[in-house]
Symmetry: C2
Subunit: 370 residues, 2 copies
């Protein structure tokens, strides 16, 4: 397995934050980075060129969805995800684990793997760690993830302990199966909200020497303070010279808090999902531009925002498009929300560079209302 | 009322086709021209910048829909349609007549105007010729259309005769109401499939000296040959120095036949509507790219097409997007179909220039299967 290059550029002195460059087969990614989610081989409503214009350096795609439709063999035939969707920058695929576990009654977990029924047509499938890696090798992302079990919240200690142990055993099987030299495979730290289990999970995975580590099982319903405490305890155990990827986190405050605690990579469907429901992000907090008060508001979504949406269209026009269910409305809110998060990440990087991350956080909270 | 400038560039010697330039408040339009339809102040799924990149020189928007949502007063406040949707090239609005008549049982026609119930919430409304013009003056398009009655097909002679007479009386009332000097008002020739009524309608309207003339009530279900015969008889009656706009026509063969017969302007929802249902246009005819045979077809929609879609994506990827109901799929098919029609119009202009329109038609039909 290829060793992913991860080059630290700067480590903050007052916090655990750091700047780095992640070198993958399809190019370089500056971290900390937010990865937009392209579940079905498309970041909903956007072209790859729009994503590049927005400044996306890496995107995520979902193994479970692509396995069901159109099938990883078809994507392999198309030249992998890069060829299929015409995206030439880095891609990360999740393992399908989280999605399969989220099926609830439709799935059954054994030592061997997970048996589940498709949410589309009820057809029966089985994914083992080996199978997940085979699918991900066909999808051909730059970074693949191990097949893990994500414990729910809340869950009792004994359950999470067993689940964490299973995740480690599966991680070994993933590693044994993976043989694509142009693709890096990340481990995933589990252990729920229990600091000792998180620590054990991290140490067991470090022992397997992955080129990067996901942090799974957070942002699953627990209060944010609990997540931050887990990060406070876990991050010091994790190797400094490997990327740390906090899975499923994308709210502005959680991004800031997690970067301060030493996280390098993030993904989340939330910013693009709320966009499709007519909610946009601003420095002052969320704004449901779809609502009546904006019907005659001819200002842009956010004063001073340089995104395509804010440079060209008013809240009133976007509201009209959303109310009349016009596709352009969803495109414009999606563009703005991604631009908003990318600008936040740029500012966070700048603040690390200038060693003023804590001041930046304070300034941000002075305006922001969740 | 402003006299729209219409400058003939070339008249074909072997056919009635001509090349011209139409000068409007928001710029020049080369004719023959196809106008994409932006019913609700958006050409479905596209940005104004994408439309410009495609080469759209003028678009159409619908008075009936905009009157109901978001209201023409709001659009006036936003700086008219141009300001509201950020489209700085010419716009044409229809009068709402056709949409209102299409409501069937929901509307009642009197000499005064049309009472109808909204298709959205059943609320009661009344549009008279005067009201239609007031709305269109608020919308602020470069070209407005008179409020006409569009007879159905088939309809008997007496009905169409009365309907045609009503349309002429309404045209006079529209003219008397219209007073926006930066907006041109076109008359609309009616008369169903009856050549003498068409002739009378044209002469009555010419008497009112409009700067341009729509041809309404065609492409309403009659065989295409009947439409072509109406055009054959009607066009020689119409003034040479005024633009002729055939309303609601946009299939490739009908565009070619109508340009040959002397039509200058066209609009139609069909090419963009079929795109949204997964059907694309090619030189060989229509292709339902959403269908199974294209699942593993990694070629572009149309070999040699220079549109964004064909330059970047395969039939297999587009099919996947359409099957999974991803917005990008509809965007890509819409772009291709508009690009296809614009290329057709460019080729028709070139063929007129080179006096080889009839040869062009023959070559086109040799490949095209409807």
């Amino acid at each position: 397995m290829m060793d992913l290059q991860f080059q630290l550029i700067k480590e903050s002195e007052k916090t655990r934050a750091r700047l780095a460059k992640l070198k993958t087969t399809h190019g370089e990614v500056e971290t900390p980075v937010f990865m937009p989610v392209g579940t079905q081989a498309t970041v909903k409503s956007l072209t790859p060129h729009e994503l590049m214009d927005l400044g996306a350096s890496i995107i995520l795609s979902n193994t479970y969805h692509l396995y069901l439709r159109p099938g990883s063999d078809l994507i392999k035939e198309a030249g992998g995800l890069h060829g299929f969707m015409n995206w030439q920058r880095p891609v990360l695929t999740d393992s399908g684990g989280y999605q399969v576990f989220s099926l609830g009654k439709l799935r059954k977990i054994t030592e061997e793997g997970v048996e589940f029924r498709s949410h589309l047509d009820g057809s029966k499938h089985f994914i083992s760690p080996e199978k997940s890696i085979e699918i991900q090798m066909e999808l051909g992302a730059d970074i693949a993830m191990v097949f893990d079990e994500c414990a729910p919240y809340p869950a009792d200690y004994e359950y999470v302990k067993q689940s964490k142990a299973l995740t480690t055993r599966w991680a070994k099987r993933c590693l044994a199966t993976h043989n694509r030299p142009d693709q890096a495979l990340f481990g995933i730290v589990q252990g729920g909200m229990f600091h000792d289990l998180r620590r054990e999970s991290a140490l067991e995975l470090i022992d397997l020497d992955f080129p990067g580590y996901g942090i799974g099982g957070l942002s699953v319903g627990e209060p944010k303070e609990i997540m931050y405490e887990v990060l406070d305890e876990l991050i010091p155990v994790m190797p400094k010279d490997k990327p740390r990827y906090l899975m499923g986190v994308g709210s502005p405050d959680a991004l800031i808090e997690s970067v301060i605690r030493g996280v390098d990579m993030f993904d989340c469907v939330w910013p693009t999902r709320i966009a499709r429901h007519g909610t946009v992000m601003t420095r002052q907090g969320r704004l449901t531009v779809r609502d009546q008060p904006f019907a005659r508001d001819f200002e842009p979504i956010e004063e001073g925002c340089t995104c395509y949406t804010c440079q060209n269209f008013s809240r009133a026009y976007i509201r009209h498009l959303l109310k009349t269910k016009e596709i352009l409305g969803v495109r414009l809110t999606t563009i703005h929300n991604i631009a908003f998060l990318f600008r936040l990440m740029e500012e966070l990087k700048q603040a690390i560079r200038e060693e003023r991350l804590l001041e930046y956080r304070q300034e941000f909270y002075e305006q922001y209302r969740d």
